[in-house]
């Protein structure tokens, strides 16, 4: 689910950046560092705007300035039960690996409808029900997230396509 979240980030700036363009630089830095970041809990999709760039504080000793920036960002936190569209990145006998945006979702064999079978002899290998459903690398899938496992700087999830309206698009 997507949220607009207000967050705070502290950026340290080298004195050489002090100057008229400092603000831009801070924005650039913020965008660079935040956008696309995964906290293990959510993904920062996009920094919307900056609520407040605090006053810089020069750190004693180093001469660098520390800015506490309050900004709003669109974040995506995947939830159990959420239905997402994903692209298959690889298919293995154990299941299907997909990417739903930045989130990698694994669909275990048990969570694939039983009529969709592993077909290793095709090139590339695929899961197919020998009818209109073919799942191979690059296929778009609609899946439901079953579980989310946060990691230090990544999120892993498992999903299922063993329900109505799920599966290849």
């Amino acid at each position: 689910m997507f949220f607009l979240k207000e967050e705070i980030k502290v950026i340290t700036l080298h004195p050489s950046f002090f100057g008229p363009n400092m603000r831009e630089y801070l924005i650039t830095r913020l965008n660079e560092e935040e956008e696309g970041r995964c906290t293990g809990d959510h993904f920062v999709i996009c920094v919307m705007d900056m609520v407040d760039i605090g006053e810089g504080r020069v750190l004693p000793g180093s001469g660098q300035a520390e800015y506490t920036i309050k900004y709003r960002a669109i974040i995506w936190k995947p939830f159990r039960g959420e239905t997402v569209d994903a692209i298959v990145t690889s298919v293995k006998p154990t299941g299907i690996f997909t990417l739903a945006g930045p989130l990698s979702v694994f669909i275990a064999r048990k969570n694939i409808p039983s009529d969709i079978k592993w077909e290793p002899n095709t090139v590339p290998p695929q899961y197919t029900d020998h009818a209109d459903q073919v799942i191979e690398k690059g296929t778009s899938l609609r899946l439901k997230i079953l579980g989310v496992k946060p990691d230090v700087a990544a999120i892993n999830a498992i999903g299922t396509i063993k329900e109505d309206f799920l599966g290849p698009l």
Partner: protein, 1059 residues
């Protein structure tokens, strides 16, 4: 009161068999006998002469009580009482007395009414009879009975009083029966039922009593008979108790030599080797056990303290064996093997079990010496021979050597085989065993063991009677498997469907806090049997026991009743386990540690081999070594664990920098890709989530991979934020020269003779052995000692003259020059700079990675790599080279600043060198328009691309130094000469080759003053492109314009990228 002791409820509903050795069925009989006997006594008492004790009734009562106890039946007493009541007509006094005195009966323990004496007390005719009876007395009960039988028919009831004891008794029985019948007939059904209930439903009646009487009052006190523990042969306890029972039958209470104990029992288990006897006196115990086998009353008896008595009778629920349950075999060939109960005999002592046979079909028969008696246990027996592996029975194999022992029988249940005296059905051994040879508690069947029992199914799990297995499992280790906080669900019983979290566990009772439904928030208790752990798909769980998957972490993908399928984090494989073996896991990482080793650790196997752990078993490690082979090793085989270096850097095939955490892909072969886990020399251990084998670990060579993405979005190109020149270590170019440059490579100070200017060592002279940024290690001449001294208080001295040398200037030039002369031509011209060049170049590769990204930006002319070079060239070399060029070459140029701006620019131009030039030139050329040359040249470039291009690329490196070179000396030859060199040292070397030299030359000269140079270099490049000279010149102008405006520094910064 022994009766109380026996009757009261000690917290268990079930009576232990052991406790009542005598079968309850006899009671009726005995009751009657007892009654008779008592009646006799009564009669005696009535007729007692003077020597009778005053308290006779009491005595009698005590005696009868004793009798009852001796029989070990509490219910007998009840019966007695009843009957006494019924018979009230006959002996009212006595009985009434009995009733009244019941409470006092215990007082005179010692009273032991002796029958002969009493009988003798009868007067008149009876005395005659008495003597006979006395004789009778010596005979045993059986004879009595016979007598009774004999006389029974002939006696007239009226003669009863005058008749001998036995006869009288016999008759009484008849009359008694009649009376009972009458009574029964007269009573209404309800009353009768009540009576029957009272008589036979002992437990309930007693329990009903117990409700009224507070329990603590029922506990034994010092007034009650004591219990002695007597040693016996371990394992024979029950036998002993049975023989006591027999002895009591032989010498019943009331007989001449009665067994005067109240009860005997054994506890087995923890108290093996003891039986317990309840009696008033120790002597009674001795007497009762005398000459009995397997029991040793002569050894020290233990008197059980009163307060421990109830504990002795606390009953443990005996294990209930159910068909389909699991047990283990205690000993023998199948020791420890899991067996499934097929059938339980009704007595509960023998069961039929199903086992996976361990047969060798006579294959190892001849190995042992024929003399060995197979029945005899040989400690030295080869265990392998003794215990073949578990395998289903195969008649084919049995036929090979043992056809004569094999016979088939077919019945309703299918075909079975009889082989060597055992029965095999469907591949299993079916065997009758005694319960005591089975382990019935804590069986803990493991899934893989159980799968062996699965009939006919391929994967084992589907066909399993998981329900029964789960049932078996559920009975165990409740407290271990349910911890507070576990999510559970009640799946049977009244509270079925309740969901909650456990809050505490006590024995078999789990307290749970209901979390869902109407009862939410309430705390209820439920037996473990009706609980199961509840997991949802997607839960992250850890296997905590019960299978070989212990400690695996994974996410639940399927939940089906009691079984949960999870996807292992480590191996990406599906594992099916029981929910009771799982626990929610908060751990995020991949678990599975063996001591200090963890999956994905890098370990050193020997000096030349490292390996990455792909699996940690309980005792061994599975590793993937750098050669890509998998091996299983013991932890002891690991030399040491290599802690990953965060800053480990390698270069990929393109020279781009790769670090831990970057994603790379193989260039050839299977094009595997993965995240770099470890960098070890030229090997990378990658982790690929999508790969199941080897836990996703792949080993590749650095030269065979290309970067796909860098960790944390680190630019694969240069770090733009670092483009800020101000942040560069070397400070800003131009006006703000900043502090003296750090020198690259070897510190020039090293090896120099220096003198200390200040501090404790002031004035001492030494040789610099080593140096860091700020300090130098100086070997003092005087002390022959290495001291660390700040560099800024050192002055370099000429070792011979002792004169101070200014290192910042002439010194270096001088120093370097020799270098120049040396092998590397390029360096030749300017000692100072060349090394710099080198230094730069050394740095270059680092930059290189970054640069490549930019290359295309640059105009695509050059190969990806070239720009890289430029990049650094530009950046690195510029300041220095430039600056240095200026210095070094200084002589040649005009004002230094421009010179060095130019230089600055030049070099990078130059550094960009060949290609740079090229591109500069090239880009410019077109720009120029057209200069014929350019035209001419462009193609040249293009054309050269193949050869030429390379030419430049290579040059790049060349560029750095070459730039200076040309600058300073401008001598075409030098660069020319250098040309090869760069090639030599640069990795790209080959390409740069000849051309670069020139090129750089070109650019170098391009600067304002350059003009000439180009010319010069034209000459050089001449062969390639005659016109170059002009172009660069032109070019020179162009850039020149750019820079000139402001000082080179920033300019160039911008400039560089812009082209």
């Amino acid at each position: 009161m022994s009766r109380n002791l026996i009757d009261q409820d000690f917290g268990s509903e079930e009576e232990d068999d052991d406790f009542n050795p005598a079968p309850a069925d006899d009671s009726d009989n005995e009751d009657q006998k007892a009654t008779h006997r008592r009646r006799d006594d009564d009669d005696d008492d009535d007729d007692d002469d003077a020597d009778v004790h005053t308290g006779r009734t009491e005595r009698y009562r005590a005696g009868s009580e004793d009798d009852a106890r001796g029989r070990g039946h509490a219910d007998d007493d009840e019966g007695d009482d009843n009957e006494d009541d019924e018979e009230g007509e006959e002996d009212e006094e006595g009985d009434e007395d009995d009733e009244q005195d019941e409470e006092d009966e215990d007082e005179d323990d010692d009273v032991n009414p002796r029958r002969p004496a009493k009988r003798r007390r009868r007067g008149g005719v009876l005395s005659f009879v008495d003597t006979e009876a006395g004789v009778d007395e010596d005979e045993d009960e059986a004879e009595d009975e016979e007598d009774e039988m004999e006389f029974g028919g002939e006696m007239h009831p009226d003669d009863m009083d005058t008749l001998p004891v036995g006869v009288e008794t016999d008759d009484r029985r008849h009359r008694q029966l009649d009376r009972q019948r009458e009574l029964a007939a007269s009573m209404d059904a309800e009353k009768q039922a009540q009576m029957l209930k009272e008589r036979y439903g002992r437990n309930r009646a007693a329990a009903a009593d117990a409700v009224v009487v507070p329990k603590r009052l029922l506990l034994p006190s010092v007034d009650d008979p004591s219990i002695w523990g007597v040693r016996c042969k371990a394992g024979k306890e029950r036998e002993v108790v049975f023989s006591i029972q027999k002895r009591i039958e032989e010498r019943p209470p009331g007989s001449r030599n009665p067994v005067k104990i109240m009860s005997a029992f054994e506890r087995g288990g923890a108290m093996a080797g003891y039986i317990y006897v309840e009696a008033r006196r120790q002597a009674d115990v001795m007497d009762a056990l005398q000459d009995m086998t397997n029991v040793y009353p002569r050894t020290k008896m233990i008197l059980v303290p009163v307060r421990e008595m109830p504990d002795l009778l606390r009953v443990q629920k005996s294990e209930e064996l159910m068909p389909g349950g699991w047990v283990r075999i205690k000993r023998g060939k199948y020791q420890g093997d899991l067996a499934q109960i097929e059938e339980v005999e009704t007595n509960g002592l023998a069961v039929t079990v199903r086992l996976v046979p361990r047969l060798d079909y006579g294959l190892n028969e001849d190995i042992g010496a024929p003399a060995i008696d197979p029945k005899r246990k040989r400690p030295g027996m080869n265990p392998a021979v003794a215990r073949p592996p578990q395998r289903a029975f195969s008649e084919a194999e049995a036929k090979k050597k043992h056809a004569k022992y094999l016979s088939a029988t077919s019945g309703l249940g299918g075909k079975s085989w009889s082989y060597l005296g055992e029965t095999y059905v469907e591949g299993f051994l079916v065997k009758d065993m005694k319960v005591q040879h089975l382990i019935t508690k804590n069986v803990n069947p493991r899934l893989e063991e159980v799968t062996m029992f699965a009939r006919g199914s391929e994967d084992g799990t589907s066909n399993l009677d998981l329900a029964s297995l789960a049932e078996t499992l559920k009975n165990q280790n409740a407290e271990e498997s349910y911890l507070p906080g576990d999510p559970v669900e009640v799946f049977r019983g009244e509270q079925q469907g309740l969901k909650g979290r456990t809050t505490s566990t006590r024995g078999d009772i789990v307290t749970l806090l209901v979390t869902e439904g109407e009862l939410a928030g309430q705390s209820i208790e439920a037996p473990v049997k009706s609980l199961r752990k509840r997991f949802r798909e997607g839960d992250h769980v850890k296997v905590i026991g019960g299978s070989r998957y212990v400690d695996e972490l994974g996410m639940v993908v399927q939940v089906k009743d009691d079984t949960v399928t999870l996807l292992s984090d480590m191996s990406m494989q599906e594992i099916t386990v029981f929910s009771k073996d799982l626990r929610l896991s908060a751990e995020t990482g991949v678990d599975g540690k063996l001591g200090m080793f963890d999956v994905h650790d890098l370990v050193q196997l020997d000096a030349a081999t490292v390996a990455c752990i792909v699996k940690v078993d309980r005792e061994s490690l599975r590793v993937l070594d750098q050669n890509g082979s998998i091996r299983t090793i013991l932890p002891t085989h690991v030399t040491n664990k290599i802690t990953p270096r965060r800053d480990a850097v390698a270069t990929d095939r393109n020279g781009a920098e790769i670090r831990l955490g970057d994603t790379v892909r193989e260039m050839s072969g299977e094009q595997r890709s993965g995240v770099i886990l470890h960098i070890y020399r030229s090997f990378l251990f990658l982790h690929n989530k999508a790969q199941a084998e080897n836990s996703g670990i792949v080993v590749v060579r650095t030269t065979n991979v290309v970067t796909v993405s860098a960790k944390g979005g680190r630019a694969t190109g240069p770090d733009l934020s670092k483009m800020n020149p101000a942040l560069m270590r070397n400070g800003a170019p131009g006006g703000m020269m900043g502090p003296p440059q750090r020198s690259f490579g070897r510190d020039r100070l090293i090896g120099k003779t220096v003198q200390v200017r200040k501090g404790p060592y002031k004035g001492l002279v030494g040789i610099v052995k080593d140096s860091s940024d700020m300090q130098a290690r100086v070997e003092l001449h005087s002390k022959n000692k290495l001291v660390t001294i700040d560099k800024d208080i050192l002055v370099v001295k000429d070792p011979i003259t002792g004169q101070t040398i200014d290192m910042s200037r002439g010194g270096r030039g001088g120093g370097r020059i020799p270098n120049g002369g040396s092998a590397a031509p390029q360096s030749a011209w300017q000692g100072g700079r060349t090394p710099m060049g080198m230094a730069d170049s050394s740095r270059t590769p680092a930059w290189g990675g970054a640069a490549s990204a930019r290359t295309p930006a640059w105009g695509g002319v050059s190969s990806a790599r070239t720009p890289a070079w430029k990049q650094d060239g530009s950046r690195t070399s510029n300041p220095y080279d430039g600056s240095r060029t200026a210095y070094g070459g200084g002589g040649g140029f005009g004002s230094r600043t421009p010179a060095w701006n130019a230089g600055a620019r030049t070099p990078y131009g130059g550094s960009g060198n060949s290609d740079f030039d090229a591109f500069a030139a090239g880009s410019r050329t077109p720009a120029w328009g057209g200069a014929a040359n350019s035209g001419g040249r462009t193609p040249a470039w293009g054309g050269s691309a193949s050869n030429g291009t390379k030419g430049y690329d290579a040059p790049t490196p060349g560029g750095n130094y070459s730039a200076p070179t040309p600058g300073a000396y401008a001598s075409a030859p030098t660069p020319g000469a250098s040309a090869p060199t760069p090639g030599g040292w640069a990795e790209s070397a080959p390409t740069p080759g000849a051309f670069n030299a020139p090129t750089p030359g070109g650019p170098a000269k391009r600067g304002g003053y350059d003009a000439p140079t180009p010319a010069a270099f034209d000459g050089v490049g001449g062969h390639t492109r005659p016109y170059d000279a002009p172009t660069p010149a032109g070019a020179a102008a162009t850039p020149g314009a750019g820079y000139d405006g402001d000082d080179g520094g920033p300019r160039y910064e911008e400039g560089t990228p812009s082209p």
